[in-house]
Amino acid sequence: MNRLLERIAPVGFGVAVLAAWQCAVWATGTPKYVVPGPWDIVTAYAASSGELNAALLSTLTVTFAALAAAAFLGVVLAVAMAASVLLRAAIQPWAVALQVTPLVAIAPLIILWVNQAFAALVICATIISFFPILANTAAGLAQTPAALLDLFKLNGASRWQTLLLLRLPSAVPNFLTGLRISGTLALVGAVVAEFVAGSGGFASGLAYRILEAGYRLEIPKMFAAMVLLALAGVAIYAALGGLEYLVLRRRER
């Protein structure tokens, strides 16, 4: 009973908030170009679902391309940092510097330098999302049990054998945690980059639809695009969490 209530609670809360919102809009007679009610948003989505879905697909393509690039870059840099103290010292401060510099500040430069729109967006989203994968994988590589490293040494394992058969597999749980965090960051990165790029002329993702709807005072459509983004973010987080659970459960059973 309690578990059922726990399952229903978020949905119930959401429905209650939406109902209250709709009632407030009706009761105060607020025009929908200021605050649209939930129903206006649904209608706006229905009216331009083709356009919005295509925009979502475009944003998600950038997100997943960036996540793949971030996973590759994060793992390669983490391995390099684990392999040599010198490389670690060389890479770490730059990785942190790139992470703390706000993407909105870097994005215009990248969009200026990279002529191909898709590539520019992917680079921006990769910059913001590779760090959690790098940091978590590096931590995982550093936590390889000392006794197992001794065992590998006693049996004459090469550096490559130690990396491929021990260190990387040991770091898989940490990598997956990093991937889950990076997934939502990649979406944020894609949207931020689209915002910057959108004002410069490329037009395909959800951020551009949000900007466009804003200019035209189509506030319900703007909300619909935001809701799609939020849902996409939750879905990415849940999917990567599910992937993490499945991989970890399968490999130890």
Binding site: P145, A147, L148, D150, L151, F152, K153, L154, N155, G156, A157, Q161, L165, L166, P169, V172, R251, E252, R253
Partner: protein
Amino acid sequence: MIEIAGVSKVFDNGTVALEGISATIAAGEFLALLGPSGCGKSTLLRLLAGLETPTAGAITWAQGRPKAGEIGFVFQDATLLPWASALENVALPLKLLGRPRAPAREAAAAALAQVGLSEFLTAKPAALSGGMKMRVSIARALVAKPKILLMDEPFAALDEFTRQSLQEDLRNLWRRTGLTVVFVTHSTYEAAFLASRVLVMSPRPGKIAADFASTVTGEADRRDAPSYTAFVAEMSRRLRGVMPAREVLA
């Protein structure tokens, strides 16, 4: 088989782990290194394995320094790869040594049979009990047919019943194979039950305090033999002599 001559080990932080250790390890003996925490017995084992190098002195092997795979090492924890089956875990040393896959798997299955786990070849560590994991770990140490088996308090984390059954199996394995074993322990009972010879070590810095040849007779009902009880008592007396006064009171 092994000559330890005046070996000392000082760690980078200045801790003197071992000071002037000299001993000979004969082929085929079961040598227990017995002593309280901090007496350097694990360090001595790691020096024998070549995982540490002595600060002074030398360790000489009669047939030359062992090559990769010629030392079997069992750690305090089973330290298995959690994502690999028992068979894959045991075959790992052979894989690292570059042996072909099919005979490696056969050898691993044989080693698992030797420790009584033939029915658990495909089980992953999470599905095994603590005692079974330790058996896999022992099979892994034996799979490459090592010249010597080094064991670092392997049964310390197990419950009493599991520990006794593993001790019995290890003793039988040693009697059957004639393997040279060096076994680190802080339990006089364990040392008396298993070993053919016991080196008692004293702490801070680690030194050899006594060298006993086992006086325990009989294999069946070994734990009930009066000679076993007497040997335990003798070693305990000797251990009390080497402990700092404060710790003896406690």
